[in-house]
């Protein structure tokens, strides 16, 4: 007998109720039960980070979380970043800095960086701007096979600087 559970979850501000098997991952639930196919599965063992979503404010590998664990939770996926047709500043920076090629890892990097920047990591403890080293360390949490990471690091830096109120977006632009 399948071990089924009722789940209530809010995704990008929209409530969903569904019944899932206990072992069903949050990633499969989002993708195949709720239609949020922007969340991608690259390894299903928590290394690549393509499936990263924001779960109650924290970046989480949705392949390592069961759907039932998201009962009552707020989930943000890549589909929730843009304001209507207008890309978010982070999404726009990814395009400006050529931070994506095939785009498969991109939703994971976007959600990782969005969660990090939302935690007010825009500046260091002493108010100094986010460094390239810090942006690189953040980006090292996920895998990208196409870009060589340079554009991703630049896009995160530019967004952090712009959000911190500086004019860093121009500073980080490609030459």
């Amino acid at each position: 007998m399948k071990d089924m559970h009722a789940v209530r979850v809010t995704v990008n501000g929209r409530g969903h109720e569904l019944v899932v098997e206990a072992r069903r991952t949050l990633a499969d639930m989002l993708r195949h039960d709720l239609g949020y196919t922007g969340t991608h599965l690259g390894c299903e063992h928590g290394i690549c980070g393509a499936c990263t979503v924001i779960l109650d404010g924290q970046p989480a590998r949705s392949c390592l979380v069961f759907g039932v664990q998201a009962d009552g939770a707020q989930v943000r996926t890549v589909e929730g970043l843009a304001d209507g047709e207008r890309l978010s500043d982070l999404q726009q920076a990814f395009s400006d800095h050529h931070a994506l090629q095939c785009g498969f890892c991109t939703p994971g990097f976007l959600m990782l960086a969005e969660a990090y920047l939302a935690e007010a990591h825009l500046t260091g403890a002493g108010g100094e701007p986010l460094t390239e080293e810090q942006a690189r360390e953040l980006a090292a949490a996920n895998l990208c096979r196409c870009t060589g990471y340079q554009g991703i690091v630049e896009a995160i830096l530019a967004t952090a600087r712009a959000r911190a109120g500086g004019n860093g977006a121009a500073e980080g632009s490609p030459a």
Partner: protein, 772 residues
């Protein structure tokens, strides 16, 4: 202003950034079943029994098949055939029958309504295999394991070696690694029993070839099969070739008259998708007293894994054909023994044969520079072919084309690269390999610099076809036979079409890789899409422009030669008021509008074919600065420079992106990534914990010097390919830098340069230094 050469934002980005991409597993069909492939747990053995009884009875399982359920004798043919190589006995069956030859070989397929239930049932298949010894070392494999022996060359190498002032030889092994795109493979096959059609999602790279092969295997008319264009999460050579699953999933969907989806998981990807690269080189060069190469000889053992797949022996053939690289080599002999082993079969991976060959050749040159007491850059400069020698014909064929280096100024590029490396502070004094330098303040870490030159190939023909159509909204539609693998083909082809047609690239929509929209496409591989596919689009868009002007002349009652087409409008020169939108011309090209003459084709569209018999050869130099910790064996790449001649960059941002991404993959294959096997042939890299792809922490910012000084003479755009030059020479440049850091006299011996191997090299170097 021309759309060509602009750093335009990518057309692909908008959907991919919003999570609106359409990757294989994003597409589903009503009533869809899921498939799970059961794979061999043994490297080599005889199948005694495959009992699927329990699996077939498991809840929710619709069907379980083994080879006995399929038509007999099914094997996947070679796509890239090389004359003289008969590989008929070495092709992979779609399901193993009798013998298994590698861990991961498909044995059975379980189909059911739920993918989790299919995985459960797959474990109920009772596999009884009588294990046999596994052949794992290609160098000592018995003769019956040799699938082919290939050679390329010319001149009298024996005489040149006998007369040489210096002979330098090394051995270098290249590790087994591969493309490993971030999206695993996925296929969805949707049959329509009423219409007799079959729709396929997830075949990329060569969709028309795969469609035709599938049609033949299924006994169907090929036009009843439609391969749809989908996004692909990276290709790198491995994705989209015809694998066993490319037959099994469509066949099952027809047998069950239901849509069937298969989504590969990462563990099976790492044992199922084409591996690549594993070669052992014994390479030697003869020099005269001035350091000029008089002969080059390479004896290669190529580990091809258990079968010859769709690439046949193309990778070893490319290795020996491209080995002389950018140098003047009066006599050359390259031999390669293609050996079958009990490992995952091999195919192409970005810069196939060139990554391997460049590593061996360029590492040899650095060892030779030490031996001859010369600066490695000067040794290369002395031997490079010059602009005056172009075009330069090598008496070698590869991929059924003559090898004619078409254009370029290799010494100028080397000089520019060396200047740029110096300007950026890469080099730390003259290169003195026997005197290891300790990086200041880094706890005994050793700094090293390495440089390598290479020639790439691109633009493989024989043809590509493109259709360009203007619709009544004024939108321009391009239907290309290329496929979208992340390289930005939609953006590049839109820029080419916009330039030829005189419209804004934003109004151009590109459909790439749909076999119904473009049934004559040859696919995206071999750095061919911009060169061959782009030229086809250029021809088709130019033809549409000519037709638009002809029709507009009738509409405006003006002479064709007085008309201009720009920004989507046709204007009469000198008359601002007399203008007509391209959309209106598209309407005028419809039947019964009164503008078409008898015999003129309907619609504002054109189909053109670009044919080319030879490749075009881009080239470049890589330079690396590394830091080596002799205590832990860790190598860090601190700086990396790619200097690359691309003829003409359609979108420089995308070219730089290709080069940077290639460098990252090259660093992976040189330092981190390796498909290891234990003595029983069990794969040791089966998750991303063991198969270590570089992260942002291992890949530095990459400096790019993009050169557009040598337009390709063989295509109307003057373009060369850019897909592979970022990876071609990474093994060479990083190996040279590590050798330089450690002060080695000879070769590093083996890639990847894992910490354990580097420690051994450091220890050996320290010992020889102590006794010297």
């Amino acid at each position: 202003m021309s759309a060509i050469g602009a750093r335009l934002p990518r057309k692909e980005d908008s959907r991919l950034l919003r999570g609106r991409g359409r990757f294989g597993d994003d597409v589903s069909a009503p009533g869809q079943l899921w498939a799970r492939v059961v794979r061999s747990p043994c490297a080599h053995g005889l199948i005694r029994e495959l009992d699927v009884t329990q699996a077939a009875k498991a809840p929710g399982i619709a069907r379980v098949i083994t080879s006995g359920d399929l038509p007999g004798g099914l094997a996947i043919p070679v796509r890239l055939t090389i004359p003289g190589a008969d590989l008929g006995d070495h092709l992979q069956p779609v399901l193993a029958a009798g013998t298994v030859r590698y861990v991961g070989e498909p044995l059975a397929v379980v189909v059911g309504g739920d993918p989790y239930a299919c995985e459960d049932a797959a474990e109920l298949v009772d596999i009884d295999i009588a294990e046999r010894p596994a052949v794992l070392d290609a160098r000592v494999a018995p003769a019956q394991q040799v699938a082919a022996e290939l050679a390329a060359g010319y001149g009298d190498t024996a005489a040149a070696f006998a007369a040489a002032a210096h002979v330098v030889s090394i051995e270098l092994a290249i590790g087994r690694h591969s493309g490993v795109p971030l999206e695993p493979r996925c296929l969805l096959a949707v049959p329509d029993p009423r219409a007799g059609t079959l729709d396929i999602y997830g075949m990329t790279k060569v969709p028309v070839w795969n469609r035709d092969l599938l049609a033949g295997l299924l006994g169907m008319d090929e036009t009843l099969i439609r391969v749809h264009a989908v996004d692909a999460g990276g290709g790198f050579g491995v994705r989209g070739e015809f694998y066993p699953e490319d037959f099994l999933i469509p066949w099952l969907s027809l047998a069950l008259a239901r849509p069937v989806k298969w989504a590969e998981d990462r563990a099976e990807h790492l044992v199922a998708v084409n591996h690549s690269r594993q070669q052992h080189h014994r390479i030697a060069a003869a020099f005269d007293a001035d350091g000029r190469i008089t002969a080059l000889d390479d004896d290669i053992v190529h580990d091809n894994g258990a079968y010859c797949r769709t690439h046949g022996v193309a990778v070893p053939e490319l290795t020996v054909a491209m080995l002389p690289g950018p140098y003047r080599v009066p006599a050359y002999r390259g031999r390669v023994r293609v050996v079958l082993t009990n490992k995952t079969p091999c195919g192409t991976y970005r810069a196939p044969g060139r990554f391997e060959g460049a590593a061996a050749r360029e590492h040899l040159l650095d060892v030779a520079a030490t031996r001859l007491g010369m600066d490695p850059v000067e040794l290369r400069r002395r031997n490079l072919l010059t602009a005056a020698e172009m075009p330069y014909r090598r008496p070698i064929t590869t991929l059924n084309t003559e090898l004619v280096l078409d254009t370029g100024d290799y010494p100028a590029l080397l000089a520019a690269a060396a200047r740029e490396a110096d300007r950026l502070g890469y080099r730390i004094g003259p290169v003195a390999p026997r005197a290891p330098r300790v990086s200041s303040g880094t706890g005994g870490r050793l700094r090293g610099f390495g440089l390598a030159m290479f020639v790439e190939k691109s633009g493989l023909g024989p043809q590509e076809t493109a259709d360009v159509t203007v619709s009544k909204s004024g939108a321009v539609h391009v239907y290309s036979g290329g496929t979208s693998l992340g390289q930005g083909i939609e953006t590049v082809l839109a820029q080419i079409a916009a330039d030829a047609l005189g419209v804004d690239p934003r109004v151009v929509q590109v459909t790439a890789g749909d076999t119904a929209a473009q049934p004559f496409g040859a696919g995206s591989w071999a750095s061919r899409s911009t060169v061959v596919g782009g030229s086809a689009v250029h021809l088709a868009a130019t033809a549409v422009r000519e037709r638009a002007v002809r029709l507009a002349a009738r509409m405006l009652e003006a002479a064709e030669e007085d008309l201009d087409l720009a920004d989507g409008f046709i204007t009469v020169r000198g008359d601002q008021a007399a203008r007509i939108a391209l959309a209106d011309v598209a309407r005028a090209a419809e039947p019964a509008r009164g503008y078409l003459r008898p015999g003129e084709p309907t619609g504002l569209s054109a189909r053109r074919r670009f044919e080319v018999s030879r490749m075009t050869y881009p080239y470049g130099a890589h330079a690396a600065v590394v830091d080596v910790d002799p205590g832990t064996g860790q190598v860090r790449v601190l700086r990396y420079l790619v200097a690359y001649e691309v003829g003409r960059a359609i979108n420089p941002m995308l070219v730089e992106g290709q080069l940077r991404g290639g460098v990252a993959q090259g660093i992976g294959g040189t330092l981190l990534e390796e498909f290891g096997y234990d003595e029983a042939g069990q794969p040791q890299a089966i998750t991303f914990m063991e198969y270590r792809m570089p992260t942002a922490a291992e890949v530095p910012a990459v400096d790019v010097l993009l050169s557009q000084d040598a337009p390709a003479p063989g295509n109307p755009l003057g373009v060369m390919g850019a897909g592979e030059g970022g990876v071609s020479a990474v093994g060479a440049a990083v190996a040279n830098a590590v050798r330089n850091a450690l002060g080695l006299a000879g070769s590093v011996g083996q890639l990847p340069l894992t910490p354990a191997r580097v420690r051994r090299l450091a220890d050996a170097s320290a010992r020889s230094g102590a006794t010297a």
